[in-house]
């Protein structure tokens, strides 16, 4: 999916150094990429005179997902309304005093509808133009109608762009998953029973009315529960219980505020069990990394989006689809989880230093302040941002929106991820400049709520760091 890295996307071909000034001022002169943005922009300007704090889409998602629908609407208008007419600096410097927005206006609803129909139109083509889908995704995908699920599957490469192949691909993959599960996640007693059935019907079953001494059967050398042999099914089963226990513990802690994942209802249990299977299977198939704490967080949005797909068949197979997409998503960043690779050129430290370089290229003052003056090393905050793809920093709805952009980036998830991280730093620049080590660390480890659209816009407008480009991957 990565074309030549040297190609700079159109969006950043604006004057660079001035961007920084304009970032600080908060005013964004970017034109809307979508059609119909002209009208929206005027709308934004008009509102700004009425509500100097910036209009409704500014409002941050401070509460957890109780107000999902409401946030959806907000997200919609933010996405549809040309990136949400930019908040100015004044708004950001009063972080938690956002006033409530005005009622969702007709124009915003229209913009949202437009966006949805854009996506629908794109997806319903026979041959889907991935680039176009990427562009749309970067603007944010609509929440309803399973459009996000399908788009993500396309963007991750799970579904081929040609529509007629979908049926075949989906059923093949789902079958593969079922078989994998059967092979690897089977319990040893089940395994023994099947072996028994294969090796001829058991006489004791038939002769159950006959009293007398029970017949003893020979077994293969390693085939008993206490065996310590490496090849024994039982031994492998017990070795995996440790991993399984850790997975279980982490799953209990995944998004405790969301009914989808937590609690003791039948549904949430089923979801946790499905996620458990996926993670266990991943751990077994990748003995080098096995399971690392945090993988559950990366899996959660994928599984959520796929299970809430209104298409019943898709929702029923969410587990199989999530597994494949999870594997694909982790494909780039899997090296981050491997401890041995930490110091290598593909490891997490190298990625973190790339982030540092990116920050330096874009805002040397802030970089200097962080690195030297306050000595806040990127390891302290960026490690979690990067390995967990920002799932721990924002509310669930924001995560979905950010992931839309991550997946929609033609240069790959990692590239956009670093940009977003850098943007996160830039957006709280003034606070960082004022703070010392402790204050900054606290701020970055508990990142404040901000306008996601603004954040993503800043991310996209960053100057890419050309100093350390790798021409071949």
């Amino acid at each position: 999916m990565l074309k030549s890295k040297l190609k700079i996307p159109d969006k950043t071909r604006k004057p660079f150094p001035d961007r920084l000034g304009s970032l600080v001022a908060g005013f964004d002169s970017r034109d809307g990429e979508n059609g119909g943005s002209g009208a929206a922009l005027e709308f934004g300007e008009e509102l700004e005179t009425i509500q100097p704090n910036g209009f409704g889409s500014d409002r941050e998602f401070e509460e957890p997902d109780d107000g999902v629908e409401e946030e959806c609407a907000q997200d919609e208008d933010a996405a549809g309304g040309a990136g949400g007419g930019e908040p100015d600096l004044r708004a950001r410097q009063r972080p938690n005093t956002r006033e409530g927005s005005g009622p969702v206006s007709v124009l915003e609803v229209i913009a949202a509808d437009e966006k949805r129909s854009d996506v629908e139109h794109e997806i319903s083509q026979e041959e889907i133009n991935l680039e176009k889908l990427q562009r749309i995704a970067t603007m944010g995908l609509p929440d309803e109608g399973g459009l996000r699920a399908t788009s993500w599957k396309l963007l991750l490469g799970y579904l081929p762009p040609s529509r007629k192949l979908w049926e075949k691909e989906l059923s093949e993959n789902r079958l593969k998953y079922a078989k994998l599960k059967e092979d690897l996640l089977i319990s040893p007693s089940e395994f023994a029973r099947r072996k028994n059935l294969n090796s001829g019907p058991c006489e004791t079953e038939a002769g159950s009315d006959v009293d007398g001494p029970l017949r003893r059967h020979q077994i293969a050398q390693e085939d008993h529960p206490l065996s310590l042999g490496k090849a024994s099914v039982w031994n492998q089963y017990f070795e995996n219980t440790e991993v399984a226990e850790q997975i279980d513990r982490d799953l209990q802690r995944t998004h405790p505020d969301m009914k989808f994942f937590s609690g003791e209802t039948v549904i949430s249990r089923r979801h946790r069990e499905a996620m458990r299977n996926i993670l266990l299977l991943f751990a077994k198939l990748n003995p080098a990394i096995r399971y690392v704490q945090g993988m559950n967080e990366v899996l959660a949005p994928i599984y959520y989006v796929f299970s809430t797909d209104p298409n019943e068949q898709n929702a029923a197979n969410a587990e199989a689809d999530s597994f494949s997409c999870f594997v694909r998503l982790l494909g780039d960043s899997v090296d981050h989880f491997c401890q041995q690779l930490d110091n290598s050129s593909v490891g997490i430290l190298s990625t973190i230093s790339r982030l540092s370089e990116l920050l330096k290229t874009n805002d040397e003052e802030l970089w200097r302040h962080l690195e030297f003056t306050t000595r806040v090393e990127p390891q302290f905050y960026a490690f979690r941002w990067i390995t967990l793809l920002l799932t721990q920093e924002f509310s669930f709805q924001s995560i979905l929106r950010i992931w839309d952009s991550l997946l929609g980036n033609p240069f790959g998830v990692q590239d956009m991820l670093l940009r977003v991280c850098c943007a996160m730093l830039l957006c709280v620049k003034s606070k960082l400049l004022r703070g010392d080590f402790i204050a900054n660390l606290k701020l970055l480890q508990h990142y404040p709520d901000i306008n996601i659209e603004h954040l993503l816009q800043v991310a996209m407008d960053l100057t890419p760091d050309t100093s350390s480009y790798r021409l071949s991957l």
Partner: protein, 189 residues
């Protein structure tokens, strides 16, 4: 898939110093969910050792046990099966099938586990199963000196039980298995 370890008649320290090393190396904590012990451990140290293997430990009193508060008989339900536990010296003639069947009917269990004879046996009798895990240490019994160390591990899975018999013969551990199925379900309580 519940693993239940059945053993007994260790007679530590009077007749045997300890479990055979090969058995001990196989018995590691974390794999077994229940232990049922037919009795005659005889001392507290053995009790503690078994407790480290698995916290759910059931013991019936044998005639040489130093702990006097173990019950004479015990019943427990694991999965779909009702298990009964008794040392067996109370049932006369020792090891007689019909008398044991009487005990089984009295306790109303599907699987009766008894010891005392220090010989492994497994019988299907009148609708139930009688299992004797033998002596885990190979201690001599009131009947014979010729005893092979043995114990039993049951894998209870729904209506089916796979009984793995571990015996130490000539210094080597031999494992056999026995399969049986229950024909009717028990009412859970």
């Amino acid at each position: 898939m519940v693993l239940v370890l059945a053993l007994g008649d260790l007679h530590v320290p009077h007749r045997a110093p300890d479990l055979p090393a090969k058995f001990k190396s196989m018995l590691v904590p974390g794999k077994i969910q229940h232990i049922i012990c037919t009795g005659n451990l005889c001392i507290k140290e053995v009790h503690d050792y078994l407790k480290t293997l698995c916290p759910d430990l059931h013991i019936a009193r044998g005639e040489y046990d130093e702990e006097t508060r173990y019950p004479e008989t015990k019943t427990l339900t694991i999965g779909q099966f009702k298990l009964g536990l008794c040392h067996g010296h109370q049932v006369i003639p020792w090891g007689d099938l019909d008398s044991l069947a009487m005990l089984q009917r009295q306790l109303d269990v599907d699987i009766l586990v008894t010891g005392h004879t220090h010989q492994f046996t497994a019988y299907k009798h009148e609708g139930g199963v009688v299992i004797n895990p033998g002596s885990a240490t190979g201690a001599y019994s009131s009947i014979t000196y010729d005893v092979n160390p043995s114990f039993v591990l049951m894998d209870i899975d729904g209506l089916r039980v796979v009984v793995y018999v571990y015996e130490l013969i000539d210094g080597e551990v031999k494992v056999d298995k026995i399969d049986f199925k229950k024909t009717t379900t028990t009412t859970a309580h």
